[in-house]
């Protein structure tokens, strides 16, 4: 196995002339190919995928904060959600916005980077530097597109395992993630029990519900119905399926909120006008808001990545691999768990967190479970929820004591 570590901003390989033109036309691709974050490449070290195929070579783009202690016992792995990335803290190089979980992680935060070594890697199939459908297929010299193999949550975790091995960390002190990040947390806890001291699956489920698969299918169909998608080969045709991806994002965005949150934020208010225009303009503020969400998303995200990652979530069913008994997935676990749900989250409702808790109880695992009162829907896990922060801090501090980490 060959591991190449690259420092920031060093190009991976001499890019073909066509690739330069692509980056010029679509600056986002620079981050997909030559990310500004830390990078490790695994050459001729096949990553065997659940679909049966392998990736002979692949790269992982990741960020770290804080210091790994001498015992290497204070590492916290953050798993990001569907459209997240490794920029948990600090300015995102594509959007220029602050990190997506600065509410929870950072100096003096519930997960304190003065105390813990925090790692977050872009997921396999992503478009922020880890190998995904926008990456260059070594076989063709062109972006993979639909030649990229279909991946699963377990494949994403297996790629992260390579990174953790590369960093020389045996056991992670904690693995934390919300939504699809929570699925990765559950997969870590189920298949790599001895490597996870504490696990925090947040606003997530052990299997994707039929309703969630349905919403994802709407999104994928919107992308694939866009003529600019070009059967996944849009980069070669110098096109981007912007309209399709924007509609996919708009539909998905509704599922991240709640009726109450939408009503409070927008009600039936009109957008910059005093009366209805009797047209299909964005008369309502909520329409204007969704259009904005859709159009900013296409500037930062790859349409094929969206297809592959939503598929991985759909395929996730932790119980299915354990004789349809979820508890079997956690048998003999010694991991400490904190399961968190939010009252108004209808995408990953509390009952799905309760299913996880029930399975953990069935194996008498050490589990804490809190349901946080919030009207903000699924997105609550990313927002300012003091009670959520207090429970995470309490859980992490107690786990640190049990792990023998210094206060």
């Amino acid at each position: 196995m060959n591991e190449t570590v690259n420092t920031r901003n060093q190009p991976q390989a001499a890019s073909a002339p066509g690739q330069d033109a692509l980056v010029h036309a679509l600056p986002r691709l620079k981050e997909a190919w030559t990310p500004s974050s830390q990078l490790v490449r695994f050459e001729n070290a096949p990553l065997k995928l659940e679909c049966g195929q392998s990736l002979n070579s692949f790269q992982i783009a990741y960020e770290t904060w804080g210091q790994l202690n001498a015992e290497k016992s204070n590492a916290v792995l953050v798993c990001h959600a569907l459209t997240g990335d490794q920029y948990v803290i600090g300015t995102n190089p594509v959007t220029g916005k602050p990190g997506w979980w600065e509410t929870l992680l950072g100096p003096g935060k519930p997960i304190d980077t003065n105390k813990y070594f925090v790692i977050c890697a872009n997921i396999l199939g992503g478009c922020m530097g880890t190998t995904g459908p926008a990456s260059i297929d070594p076989a063709t010299g062109k972006p993979y597109g639909l030649n990229f193999p279909v991946i699963t949550i377990a494949d994403m975790v297996n790629a992260q395992v390579r990174l953790i091995d590369h960093l020389g960390i045996g056991q992670l002190f904690a693995v934390i993630g919300g939504s699809m990040g929570g699925m990765q947390v559950l997969d870590w806890a189920a298949r790599h029990k001895e490597r996870v001291f504490a696990a925090m699956p947040i606003a997530t489920a052990a299997r994707h519900s039929s309703q969630n698969i349905a919403f994802h299918e709407v999104g994928r169909q919107a992308v694939m119905a866009d003529p600019d998608w070009c059967r996944g080969d849009y980069h070669t045709h110098h096109k981007v399926p912007k309209n399709g991806l924007a509609v996919a994002r708009m539909a998905a965005h509704i599922t991240y909120l709640s009726e109450d949150a939408l009503h409070q934020k927008f009600g039936r208010n009109l957008q910059d006008r005093s009366s209805r225009t009797f047209s299909f303009d964005a008369d309502f503020q909520v329409e204007s808001y969704l259009r904005h969400q859709g159009s900013t998303f296409v500037d930062r995200f790859d349409a094929n990545s969206y297809l592959y990652i939503t598929r991985a979530m759909d395929y996730f069913d932790l119980a299915a691999e354990s004789g349809d008994v979820l508890a079997n997935a956690f048998r003999n676990t010694r991991t400490r768990f904190l399961v968190v749900s939010f009252t108004s989250d209808w995408l990953y409702p509390t009952r799905e967190s309760r299913d996880i808790v029930q399975a953990l109880n069935a194996v008498a695992a050490n589990v804490s479970f809190v349901e946080i009162e919030s009207n903000k829907g699924h997105d609550a896990f990313l927002l300012d929820e003091p009670e959520f922060f207090a429970t995470v801090a309490g859980f992490v501090n107690a786990a640190a004591q049990h792990r023998g980490l210094k206060a």
Partner: protein, 211 residues
């Protein structure tokens, strides 16, 4: 074991102190209806137990987890059946059984998931309660049972006699049992059950299943 938020000794509930004395050091314990986690805190601090809790109130659960306790939001009637047999050395139900929907099933589950069960409850046979009903002719309202009949969560109140009958019914063995008053003072062990049932404000039973 160091613990983050040590409650001052003065805030210890007397019945918690009595229960804590029954638990052996280092045991695996679940406190069903653990409230704000005060008993779990005592057990973790003084007895180094592997302490878990279940609590119905979301606010109390969140407060417990925020102070570092392993507690889940759940319901004694619904969630005890999830646990495997002998998952714990002690399954504790303190001043909660009277508020469950199915006390018999709850007790059976406690005896199944715990090698021993510790159950405390307010004694409805106490003389003040008898007096309230006998003289006043109304459902008694006392310091121990302060809610009016239409407000109370206590759907299944019982006397020490009643509970002893249930223990027999579920085929459990009494290893220890005594009654105590509000300040946690145990009644003299020489008192007959008849007298304990009259004078004890609360009672606690240490139980073990026979088979």
């Amino acid at each position: 074991m160091p613990h983050q938020h040590r409650p001052a000794a003065a805030t210890l509930r007397p019945d918690h102190q009595l229960i804590a004395e029954m638990v052996t050091t280092g045991a695996r314990v679940i406190d069903v209806g653990c409230g704000d986690g005060a008993l779990l805190d005592v057990l973790a601090r003084d007895k180094a137990v592997d302490a878990r809790g279940i609590e119905l109130s979301r606010e109390k659960v969140n407060a417990c987890v925020a102070r570092g306790l392993s507690v889940i939001q759940g319901d004694a009637d619904r969630d005890l059946s999830d646990y495997p047999d002998d998952a714990f050395d002690y399954a504790i139900l303190s001043l909660t059984i009277q508020a469950t929907r199915h006390p018999k099933t709850v007790l059976e589950n406690l005896l199944r998931i715990g090698r021993r069960a510790i159950v405390s409850f307010p004694n409805f046979g106490h003389w003040k309660i008898r007096k309230g009903l006998l003289i006043g002719g109304r459902m008694p309202v006392t310091e121990n049972l302060p809610e009016s009949w239409y407000d109370t969560p206590n759907a299944h109140l019982c006397t020490i006699y009643d509970f002893a009958d249930l223990v027999k019914l579920v085929d459990a063995e009494v290893e220890d049992a005594f009654s105590f008053n509000a300040r946690g003072k145990r009644l003299g062990i020489k008192q007959s059950i008849w007298l304990q049932n009259l004078l004890g404000e609360k009672a606690v039973f240490l139980l073990k299943r026979k088979h």
